[in-house]
Symmetry: C2
Subunit: 255 residues, 2 copies
């Protein structure tokens, strides 16, 4: 009987060319499919929720796959993780991708199409000196950032808008560029400015362009009110730069 399995996955994106399977290069989907195919004894093709870019991390990526195979769902994580931690890419006995949980889901469930939304975190480290040991894991800005201005700008971004201005070229074709951001919070936690954004869907590079725009507001290159005009214009050129991938974490997928 065909089963449908939903995985929750975490990975450090710094050693991957992104989520999506590609020939010749190491991707999260590619690595996981190889190991799952070995463990399940059938060819496994994953449907991931988010096609994260190279260098982007995930604490709660989701992916589902179907097939007729024997291993109980709750034994998949350990079986996969043991193989991954023993792989050539593991460092000091620890791999860079890990399955947190696996569960049986109904036949019509699809990790991407059944999703109601997602939550991402973007970490900006704001100290006068960079920390080379954190270079894969945050966006390091050495000049002081104006947190209050960033928070004000965030309020203009939250809500339902046409977010074309925050969309990079090169993504999939979309029917509409209108999205709803349910919440966009900015908090300072010790040296980090942590941006958390949840919404019903995100355009290509949208979170990183929002983070880059908020960073420019923090640096005083843009006023918080400029964001209103940027969104109204629908013009990518008016928005801020695309913040680097290492600061971005896919935290949660909502079903």
């Amino acid at each position: 009987m065909e089963r449908n399995i939903l995985l929750t996955i975490e990975y450090d994106g710094s050693g991957f060319h992104g989520w999506q399977r590609q020939p010749q290069v190491r991707t999260v989907q590619g690595e996981l499919e190889k190991v799952l195919t070995h463990i399940c004894g059938i060819p496994v093709a994953l449907n991931g929720t988010s096609r994260t870019d190279a260098g982007v991390h995930a604490l709660g990526q989701r992916a589902s796959f179907k097939g007729d195979f024997g291993i109980p769902a709750d034994r998949i994580p350990l079986a996969v993780n043991n193989l991954l931690a023993g792989g050539a890419s593991a460092q000091n006995g620890v791999g860079d991708v890990r399955i947190i949980s696996a569960e049986e889901v109904p036949a019509d469930f699809h990790a991407r199409f059944s999703s109601r939304g997602k939550m991402y975190r973007y970490i900006i480290r704001n100290l006068p000196e960079v920390d080379i040991f954190k270079r894969h894991y945050c966006y390091q800005i050495c000049q002081p950032l104006d947190l209050a201005a960033m928070k004000q700008a965030a309020e203009y971004i939250a809500g339902t808008h046409d977010f074309r201005c925050f969309q990079a070229a090169g993504g999939q074709e979309r029917e509409t560029t209108v999205r709803t951001i349910h919440s966009l919070s900015i908090q300072k936690v010790s040296e980090n400015i942590i941006i958390e954004v949840s919404g019903d869907g995100f355009l290509y590079n949208m979170v990183r362009i929002i983070a880059g725009t908020l960073a420019e507001v923090g640096m005083g290159k843009k006023n918080p009110e400029d964001v209103i005009e940027i969104i109204e214009s629908g013009d990518r050129q008016k928005a801020g730069h695309t913040a680097p991938p290492g600061g971005l974490y896919l935290i949660e997928v909502y079903y």
Copy 2:
């Protein structure tokens, strides 16, 4: 006039094949010599204090070089760091090696031969679950470790001994394997067990073998008292495993 410059250097060892220059592969010495040669306008050859292995980190590596060139010592760090942070290996705008300071030293000063000793730190992370984001930066042991037993074993290691038992094959020839460990402390700081060892010199892989031996004491595979016999035996086979490189940090060089 020939000048003599002493550098203090930090690096994240995870992207390097160790300190020592080698053809074809990326090493810390090789990267720094390339950039320094460019900035000083003369061929620069570095004398590093410690030939750290692949994956080993440094917060306070030292290296000296001689030559007749113009740039003031205090302008070297920024010039080098800017080039490194713009290089192909930089991530999110931050490089993985950085010069902290540069100073003029007398002609007879040599970063290695003038050194009186060094301090290393070894970090063991001790929680039931691994953290994949820390896989390059610590040794992750999931079973509980007996800290009191490790501290007791450490007391037997400190002092002046023939440390042949803690020497891996493959290092340089040494006149003697007697060394003095001035202090060997073990502290629990949140989830990490931090081993700090300072001494007048260290044999090849000595700190990692000490860390592996202490870890085995913590796991109950060895008794603290076994360490006395291991040292007396001079037998590498009796000592513990070589702990992985990512947990090791060269902290300070004493002159």
